[in-house]
């Protein structure tokens, strides 16, 4: 049996390896599919739905759907762009994302997606939820105001650090990331050197006292939009 399959993304044929997901195949071919919860090296999660494409006409998350021979994928269509933009706008209004003084500005994947998608003002009313800041740990800050529930910290702590510091609690609109071993991060075995601390796409999980050390102009997305590394064929 062949280890290669051919699929089309927006009409262009690409070769993919059997077992790859659509997003992995697209990345390898230099086609950017927007995403937030997906992170290479972690198991597929399919939580944020920002990578939604249609495969043979059916909507699916590109980070969880394996490629199949002859699969016809739609990625960059007006309908999908608007769908993803809607999702990202909902994330902005659901939390308290104050980019103007967030130290992750310029390096934040949510902000960068907002810019790439041309979001000026969300079409939904801001919810301004009351959320906590957990600063109990001497070296790590958790700011739930900015959490988008991507589970990268949960998965990285479990699968990379081997610690299981975080987990989800609550359901629906009340779902949030919590510390498994208590109410505060200081009660866990989290360390500042954990890979989980670096896994957050937004400013919800931060090393303390780093702040704005990277000057404006040298931040990750200051010059090129998010996804450019994939489109330029660079390692991401």
């Amino acid at each position: 049996m062949s280890t290669q399959v051919t699929i089309t993304i927006d009409g262009a044929e690409i070769t993919a390896a059997v077992g790859q997901t659509i997003i992995e195949a697209a990345d390898a071919a230099g086609v950017y599919i927007p995403r937030l919860c997906h992170k290479p090296g972690l198991d597929a999660f399919g939580g944020c739905r920002v990578c939604t494409v249609t495969a043979n006409g059916r909507p699916c998350s590109a980070c969880t759907q394996p490629v199949m021979p002859g699969m016809i994928v739609q990625n960059d269509t007006e309908k999908l762009r608007d769908f993803r933009k809607t999702l990202v706008e909902m994330m902005f209004v659901e939390g308290n994302h104050f980019c103007m003084f967030c130290e992750k500005s310029g390096g934040c994947e949510l902000q960068a997606l907002g810019y790439r998608m041309g979001i000026d003002v969300p079409r939904f009313p801001f919810l301004f939820p009351k959320r906590d800041v957990d600063a109990s740990h001497p070296d790590i800050l958790v700011d739930h105001n900015r959490c988008i529930l991507c589970a990268r910290c949960i998965r990285t702590s479990r699968d990379v650090d081997g610690k299981q510091v975080f987990d989800f609690v609550g359901r629906g609109a009340h779902k949030r990331v919590a510390v498994r071993t208590g109410t505060r991060l200081a009660d866990s075995d989290a360390e500042v050197s954990d890979a989980a601390v670096e896994a957050c796409p937004v400013g919800a999980l931060l090393k303390k006292r780093v702040g704005y050390t990277t000057p404006i102009g040298a931040r990750r997305y200051d010059h090129e939009p998010i996804g450019s590394d994939i489109e330029n064929g660079e390692e991401n």
């Binding site: 003084f101 800041v133 600063a135 109990s136 006292r209 702040g211 704005y212 050390t213 000057p215």
Partner: protein
């Protein structure tokens, strides 16, 4: 302007909004049946609340978060907060590169803010007259009548903004100052870019100084008494008495130049300054403790800085200071309209300092940050374009801000501005038919202080919300407020 007749037969004239100032405020003037001014007040009607909502945020966010108070001189808040958090991380002894980059940012800020005020906001009054045609009395009128001057104003502001961009990362709301230092130095390319227009900026600054001086001297008869009054003055000065806009010790002098206090460490400001809250304004009323709230108010800003310092350590500005002080025989100058002249002396000083710094190779240094034994409480004081600025933070063991107090320069000038408003209203409006041109005289007095009303509104818990019911003839029928006794 609106005129309302109150229930006791008085007339209330309201100027809202006060134009050509930063932020939103209003003036109310109460006239009795004979048209005599009974009371005139400047009200600050914006509310910001920064001191409350930065509680619970990490301390290292302060320089970037608190600068959002203002879009005109955010660098002042950025640097003042940075100076405070320097102490939180024990990094107050900055490297030469860090201190000089911050000073460069600050002088760039001083240059652009003063240029903005002088050319865009104040010059229409000075060039066309206080009561001149309102259709011409604005920056576009200046551009039409004096195109070269308008161009200079715009390009001087732009130059200052470029200095800020290259030190803070952005022209407005940058991130350059971080706890214990800075996040970038100045490359030689960036330095050369700024050097290219430097001489032109020095020349234009001197030109602006001449306009401000000539205006004051040529019109001394009319401006000397305009909204003027004796007052105390306060500012930072360098330990040797030189003007220092970035750091130093607090000094206050009275109307005759007698020292009230001097050499005060920034950390001890609460031993010398207190604040009073009044129900009709969101602004607080600071005063010198040893004198008390009644007479302890003081002025800050360019006029006060020239009055308090012993000398300026750049030659052109020092010559201008000597010239300025000779007008009052070396005693403090208490003429409100002399703020404009003093402000332009500082524009010259700022550009001289920028020149000095651009030729200093420390700006290309690589050692950007220092840290040491930290603290949980810190005060920082800075001379912002509009005057002395205080930031005071208390930080918990978890690195989150527990308490903050900000005294901005416009707050210190609150009583003086009200004095000026009342003085001008009594002199120019009493017994006369009120016209727009006459009312502009009141605004001219406010503008001399270059107030930033948005920055100045921090009083919490005494919301002077008022609802007024007025009938078809404009007669006030009823008024309800949280604290109606003092609303006037």
């Amino acid at each position: 302007m609106s005129v309302v007749t109150t229930s006791n037969g008085m007339k209330r004239v309201v100027i809202e909004p006060v134009t050509r100032v930063e932020g939103h405020g209003k003036v109310t003037i109460l006239l009795d049946e004979q048209g005599e001014v009974q009371q005139a007040r400047l009200h600050i009607v914006e509310f910001r609340g920064f001191e409350r909502f930065i509680q619970g945020r990490p301390f290292w966010e302060m320089p970037v978060a608190v600068q959002r108070l203002c879009g005109i001189c955010p660098v002042s808040h950025h640097l003042c907060a940075a100076k405070a958090v320097d102490r939180i991380v024990g990094g107050e002894n900055l490297t030469p590169t860090a201190e000089k980059m911050r000073r460069l940012m600050h002088y760039g800020q001083m240059f652009q803010s003063h240029a903005l005020h002088f050319f865009h906001l104040a010059s229409p009054d000075l060039l066309f007259g206080f009561g001149s045609d309102v259709a011409q009395r604005h920056v576009l009128g200046v551009a039409a009548a004096h195109p070269e001057l308008a161009k200079q104003g715009i390009l001087m502001r732009k130059y200052g903004q470029e200095v800020i961009r290259l030190t803070a990362g952005k022209k407005v709301h940058g991130t350059g100052a971080i706890p214990g230092g800075i996040n970038k130095n100045l490359s030689t390319d960036e330095r050369d870019f700024l050097l290219a227009d430097l001489d032109q900026m020095v020349a234009w600054a001197e030109g602006a100084l001449k306009i401000a001086k000539d205006y004051t001297v040529d019109n001394l008869d009319s401006v000397a008494g305009f909204g003027s009054f004796d007052s105390n003055h306060m500012s930072l000065v360098r330990a040797d008495g030189a003007m220092d806009l970035y750091d130093g010790v607090l000094r206050a002098v009275d109307k005759d130049g007698n020292v009230i206090f001097d050499g005060v460490d920034q950390q001890d400001y609460l031993d010398y300054i207190a604040e009073e809250v009044k129900p009709w304004s969101y602004m607080k009323f600071p005063f010198i403790k040893s004198i008390g709230p009644e007479n302890g108010w003081y002025r800050v800003g360019p006029l006060s800085r020239i009055n308090t310092c012993d000398f300026i350590d750049t030659p052109l500005a020092e010559a201008a200071r000597v010239d300025f002080m000779s007008l009052t025989d070396g005693k403090p100058n208490n003429i409100t309209m002399a703020y404009h002249w003093a402000r332009m002396i500082e524009v010259v000083h700022a550009i001289e300092k920028i020149k000095e710094l651009l030729h200093d190779t420390d700006l290309q240094g690589e050692n950007l940050v220092t840290k040491g034994k930290g603290r949980r409480e810190a005060v920082a004081i800075l001379e912002a374009p509009r005057g002395t600025l205080f930031h005071h933070y208390k930080v918990g063991e978890d690195d989150l801000v527990e308490q903050a107090n900000l005294i901005v320069s416009t707050t210190s000038n609150n009583v003086p501005m009200n004095r000026a408003v009342e003085g001008v209203a009594r002199e120019y409006l009493s017994g006369k038919e009120i016209t727009e041109g006459l009312l502009n005289h009141v605004e001219v007095a406010i503008r001399a202080y270059d107030p930033c009303l948005s920055c100045a509104t921090h009083a919490m818990g005494r919301m002077p919300l008022v609802v007024e019911l007025v009938d078809a003839e404009g007669t006030l029928i009823d008024r309800k407020g949280k604290d109606t006794a003092d609303v006037g």
